[in-house]
Amino acid sequence: MSTTTATETHAGTAEHHELSFVRKYIFSTDHKMIAKQFLFAGLMFLALGGLLAVMIRWQLGFPGRPLPVFIQWIFPDTMAPGGIILPEFYNSLVTMHATFMVFFALMPLMAGVFGNLLIPLQIGAEDMAFPRINMASFWIMPVAGFIMLASFFVEGGAAGAGWTSYAPLSTSGEWTGVYMGQILWLISLIVLGFSSILGALNYVTTVMNMRAPGMTWFRIPLATWSIFVTAWLLLLAIPILTGGLILLLADQTLGTAFFRPEGSGEPLLWQHIFWFFGHPEVYILILPAMGFVSEVIANRSRKPIFGYHSMVIAMVSIGFLGWVVWGHHMFQSGMNPLLGMTFVVTTVVIAVPSAIKTFNWMGTLWRGNIHFDTPLLHAVAFVALFIIGGLSGIFMASAPVDIYIHDTYFIVAHLHYVLVGGSLFGIFAGITYWYPKMFGRMMNEGLGKVHFTLSFLFYNMAFFPMHNLGVQGMMRRIYDPNQYEYLQGLQPLSTFISISIFLFATTQILFAFNFLWSLRAGKVAGNNPWKSCTLLWTTPSPPPHGNFPEMPIVYRGPYEYSHPDREEDYWPQDEPPETSEAGGQLAAAPSPEPVPGD
C-alpha cells in the first residue's frame, strides 16, 4: 500500500508563506505552475511546427510559386530567394517540422503538462516527489528549444537530414550542406533528453510512492495510468536516443566512425538505435492521449469505463510490445530479410491491445448518456481517427506490402492520423476538459464546438487523400514531385491537400483565441464542473499550493458514474460509503471495503 505521504505535511498547508513573483510564476516548484509553463511553451512550439508545415505545404501545393508577399519578406535569400523555397531549405523545413512537433510540442503537451497536472491531483498527493527536479525538467526545455531555434540562423541553415537523421547523410555537412545546424540539432536533443528523463523519474516515483490512502493500483484513473506507462517508456527509451545522438555527434565533430562506412562504421546501426528508441517514442506520443480520452469518454457518457482492467493491461502490453517492433521501420533498409517475419508478427500483435482499447471506448459509449461537450467531441474524434491510423498500420505491417508503400505518402497519412488525429485531438480533449481545473474558468463552449467541427473537417480533407497519393506511389520528402512524370497528374490533389492544411492551421486561431480569452472572460468553473469522481475535482479550481486541504481517503474506483442506488449520477472516490456512520473511524483505518469496479 502506498500510504507514505504523512498527514502532517497536509496539515502544514496553511502555513505556506506567500511566494515572490519569481518563485511563483517563473522558477516555481509547484507542479500545477510547471504544468502551465509546459502548456504555454508547448503550444508555442506547436504553433511554430504548424507554421513550418504550412511552408512545406506551400511548396507542395504550389511548387516554384513565390510565397505570398508579406511572408516572403521574412525569409533571406539563403532560404527562399524571391519567395521561392530552396530545396535545401525545404529539407530543413521537413526536418524541423517533425522535430518541433515530436520533441517540443507533443511530448511536453502530453507528459509535461498532464503528467504534472494530473498525477498529484488524481492520486491525492500534495505535489510531485521531487519538486526541484521538476522545475529543472521544465527549464531545460526552453534552453533546448532555443538551441534548436538558433540553428535556423547559422550558416548552412537548420538540420536537413530528416527528423530520423539517417547516417551517413547526417554525419557530415559534405552530404547536406548543413554543418553547424546538424550539430546544434544533436546538442539540442541531447539537452532536451534530460528534461524528459527528469520528468519521467518524477512521474514514476510519485505514482509509486505518494498515492493517498485507499488509492490502490486499480483505483488509479486511466490518465495517470497512461502517463505512468509513458514515464517508464521515457525513462528507458530516452537514454538510448541520447547515447545514439552522442555517437552521431562524435562522428560529426571528432572524426569517429560509428555510423560512417569509412572506417568500417555501420549506417544501419544508427537506424537500429534510432528506431529502438523511436518506436517506444511513438507510444510515448499516443498513450497519454489514450488516457485523456478514457477519462473524458467515461465522464461525458456518465458511465463507468468499460473494462477498466483490460484498459490498464492493454496499455501495459502496448508499452512492452513497443520494444520489440522497431524493425518494421527497417523492412526495406537492407536489414537481413530473414528478420522480416519476426517483426511482422510482433507488429501485428500490437493490433490486439489497440483493438481492446478501441472496443472498450465504444463499450463505454454504449448505453451511456452522452453529453456532447467539446472535450467529448475531441475524444470521440480521437477514437474515430485512431481507428483509421491503426488500420492503415496493418498495411505497412505486412512486409511485402510495405515494399511498395514504404517512404510514400501512405506513411505520411498513417503517421499523421496517429499523431494529429490521435495525439493532437487527444490533447485538445485534455486541454478543454482540464482547463477549468487549471485556470478556474470554463472555455467557451460555442467557440469550442466551431473549432472542433472545422478542425475535424479540414483535418480529414488534408490527410485522408494522402493515403491515395501513397497508393499512386508518391514518395515523401520530395521537394517537387513533378520531377517524376507519373506524379504530375496528382498536382491538383496536392493543391487540394495544401489548401485544406492552410484552413486547418487557420482554424487553430479560434482555439488560441478561446484559450486566451477564457482566461479572463470564461465562466467561473467551480470545483467540479464535469461532475467527475476523481480526486482532482474535489480541490478548488485552481487548486492551492499543497492541493488538498486535508489528506483524501479513497474508497472506490475512479469511474463510479450512474450508480443505480444513488440520486447523483456520480460517486466521488473520496466520499465515505453511506453505510458507515462515523467518518472519523474510517480515516483512522483506511481499508475501505471493495466495491464494484474496483
Binding site: 529539407n91 463507468p304 505491417a397 505486412s398 512486409a399 506490402v401 514504404h406 520528402r477 520531377q483 497528374g489
Partner: protein
C-alpha cells in the same frame, strides 16, 4: 427531429466545403483510388497487389463497421433529460471475443504475407540463373554497371549506364545495390520493388519484367538537396533486343 435536422445541415455544409474546394483545385476522382494502380510489370507484382486488396477488404470492413457503430452509439445514446446511463463495468466475454478475433485476423494476415515476403526477399530463393547488374547509387544519380562479354565484373569490358537501367523481359534480374555516399532507395513503382542502397553494404534485389517498355526509377530515401531530382528510367527490352544493346555497348566500351 431537431437533432437530426441540425446534424443533417452540418453534414451538408461540410460536404459543400469539400465539393467547392474539390472543384476549384480540380483533382480527378480516380486519384482517390484505394486499389493499387493497374500498371504492374513484375512477376510478383500481381501477388503483391492481391495481398494489398485482401488487407484492404479486411481493414475496410472493420473500418466501416466500427465507424458506423460509433456513429450509431453517438446518436442513440446522446444525452436526454431524465435518462440515466446504465451502470456497466464491462464484460469478460466481450473482451475475450474481440481479443481472440483480432488476434486471429492479424495473425492470418501476417502468415499470409510470409509467402510473398520469402519469394521476394529470401536470399536463398533468388533465381540462380538471374542476370546480374551492379547498381551504384550516388548523389544524385544511378550508375548501372554491366559485366560485358566475359560475364565478369571488375574487368576491362565492363560498362556503365547512367540513370537508365536496361533489362531483358521474362528473365530474372539481380541488381546488386551499393551506395557511394549516403543511403538511397532504389524504387521501381511499377515493379513493386523498393530496396535501400546502403554505403558499405551490397544488397541484392531481384525482379523479373513481364512487359516491354519504359518505366520509372526513383529514389525513395531522403539523400540530400538534390534528392527529388534523382530519377531514372528502366527500359525493358525483348531478350533479342537486350543482347543487341549489350553487344553495341560492349563495342562502344572497347573503342574507348
Amino acid at each position: 427531429m431537431n437533432f437530426f435536422w441540425r446534424m443533417g445541415m452540418l453534414l451538408a455544409g461540410m460536404l459543400t466545403v469539400v465539393i467547392v474546394l474539390w472543384v476549384i483545385t480540380g483533382p480527378s476522382w480516380t486519384d482517390l483510388s484505394w486499389v493499387m494502380p493497374d500498371n504492374t510489370v513484375s512477376t510478383f507484382g500481381p501477388t503483391l497487389d492481391n495481398l494489398w486488396l485482401i488487407i484492404l477488404w479486411v481493414t475496410g470492413i472493420i473500418f466501416v463497421v466500427t465507424e458506423i457503430t460509433l456513429l450509431v452509439f453517438m446518436v442513440k445514446y446522446r444525452h436526454k433529460e431524465g435518462r440515466k446511463a446504465e451502470y456497466i463495468h464491462g464484460s469478460n466475454n466481450a473482451e475475450i471475443v474481440w481479443t481472440t478475433v483480432t488476434f486471429v485476423i492479424v495473425m492470418a494476415l501476417a502468415f499470409y504475407s510470409k509467402g510473398l515476403w520469402d519469394e521476394i526477399r529470401d536470399p536463398n530463393l533468388i533465381p540462380a540463373d538471374a542476370y546480374q547488374i551492379q547498381m551504384l547509387a550516388s548523389q544524385f544519380e544511378w550508375n548501372a554497371t554491366y559485366a560485358g562479354a566475359d560475364g565478369l565484373f571488375d574487368t576491362a569490358d565492363d560498362f556503365i549506364s547512367r540513370n537508365v537501367l536496361h533489362i531483358p523481359v521474362d528473365r530474372p534480374v539481380v541488381v546488386q545495390l551499393m551506395a557511394q555516399d549516403v543511403i538511397h532507395s532504389f524504387f521501381l513503382p511499377e515493379f513493386r520493388v523498393k530496396q535501400d542502397a546502403v554505403p558499405g553494404m551490397i544488397t541484392p534485389v531481384w525482379f523479373e519484367a513481364t512487359r516491354i517498355g519504359e518505366f520509372t526509377l526513383a529514389c525513395a530515401e531522403l539523400c540530400g538537396l538534390g534528392h527529388y531530382t534523382m530519377s531514372g528510367t528502366v527500359i525493358v527490352h525483348s531478350q533479342a533486343d537486350f543482347q543487341d544493346w549489350l553487344a553495341q555497348q560492349q563495342a562502344a566500351a572497347e573503342d574507348d
